[in-house]
Amino acid sequence: MFGYVLPLAGELKVKEFEKFKSAYCGLCHAMGRKCGLKARFLLNYDFTFLAMLLDGGSKASADQMCRCVASPFRRRRVCAMTSGFEMAADASVILSFWKLRDTVQDEGFFRGFAARLLSLLLRPAYRKAAKRRREFDLTVRQCLSQLRQLELEQCPSLDRVADTFARLLQAAGMEAQTEQRSPVEQILYHIGRWIYLADAYDDLEEDFKRKRYNPLITRFALTVPTLPEKDREQLETTMRHSLNLATSAYGLLQVGRWSEVLDNILYLGLPTSGMRVLAGEKIKWNQSKQKIGEIIYE
């Protein structure tokens, strides 16, 4: 994913922040154990959110203190690994792998070179993960190929293109506990739509310059690389509505030990990210990672 799904760190209590860090480390360990060392470089906050969501109210054993590559001397608190964390680890490997393959196809030889290299490095991890999650792997491939098709057709419907990414993310919910499954899937669908739209807005200028497909260009028939105020408001409203639907679904969920952190992400973190993106701030990937990363690795 893209680095939009973050808690609003300033509003977390210290103990909640500790919890979030333990989930972050927990996911990293899950990735290492299940998919190999290289997979651990894919670690990010979006998937930490996914892990906490899929973990649900499951009763886990106590946290452990572990050393790792990133922190070889000081032991860090690592939450116990549950099936939700394993699923999130596999999902992040599968998604990243196919996204890299996608970039290889999209770009020319030179621009796509880095992606090609990374995808080769990641292939063994992908193989392991895909073997465990055949159904999810299949859905990801189908959704991405539908997305490619819609891009080729210059699809003018925001919802139709966003739907492919939303369904892809929703598929990660299929391994949630049975009674939690439908709210988890709804949360992931609506957040997936929201992420897709935020990303489209983020990329608007670049896509316009390089004459690439961007759903906002076709939906609002743009002739300049900026969205007029009226249309920006429309986008803001429809994104807020998606978050509201995700939040309503979240209300029906038991999330046990993660409730404070997830509350923060749903009620504060996501709306803040949305506002920052629409205000033109570039928070994608590294920028956001650095900010919380500084706190985590200090």
């Binding site: 925001l158 709804q186 409203t237």
Partner: protein, 203 residues
């Protein structure tokens, strides 16, 4: 039945006031307004029933001898979540579409709509409702807009459009209200609007 105090998330030593506050907060969370035309509305109704029962059980226990504390019980109990049945003007085919939507059978509803020869205001309204249910909010709004344009007097369509323009609603606990949301004044104003619209329809 589960421990009623557990359902409300409080300890059995909570004061009457705390019980009431916990119940009200949860009733706000599971309120059917947050789950209009939503695939999760049934689940929310179940939760609402659970907390209503828990609250009734506690008030019963506390008032002693099984007397219920009058008036306070199950204030949110009798809401019917069914959707869009009160238009009264639905002709046969459209009624079928509405039934299919209420059942959650969107494929059937979409197929019925596709077979219709005419694109009337109601056709657009129902197409918008299906889009909404799928989370296709932009298309939903466009269809509601068309429906309102073709039949400006229809309160059901106008209400749906107004809801889309407000960006929907969801429960947030106290202290989590602030980010990127409407100010309190805007919120009140839009609630008043919705009330007017509802009043106009006589519900």
């Amino acid at each position: 039945m589960n421990d009623p105090y557990g359902v409300l998330g409080i300890s059995s030593s909570a004061s009457d006031e705390e019980v009431k506050r916990a119940y009200r907060e949860l009733a706000r969370k599971y309120h059917p307004d947050n789950y209009q035309n939503n695939p999760l509305s049934e689940l929310a109704e179940e939760k609402m029933k659970e907390i209503n029962q828990a609250y009734d059980a506690i008030t019963k226990m506390r008032s002693g001898n099984g007397k219920t504390a009058g008036g306070s019980s199950s204030s949110y109990g009798n809401y019917s979540g069914s959707y869009g049945g009160n238009g009264g003007n639905a002709s046969g085919a459209y009624a079928q579409v509405r039934n299919a939507i209420n059942r959650g059978d969107l494929n059937q509803a979409e197929m019925l709509l596709r077979q219709m020869p005419e694109r009337t205001a109601e056709w657009h309204f129902l197409t918008g409702s299906i889009a909404y249910r799928k989370g296709w909010l932009d298309e939903a709004q466009q269809h509601y807009q068309l429906a309102c344009g073709m039949d400006p007097g229809n309160m059901e369509y106008r209400q749906a459009l107004a809801y889309m323009q407000s960006g929907g609603q969801a429960y947030r606990p106290m202290g989590y209200g602030g980010v990127g949301n409407m100010s309190a004044a805007d919120c009140c104003a839009s609630m008043m609007c919705i009330n007017c619209l509802c009043g106009g329809q006589g519900c």
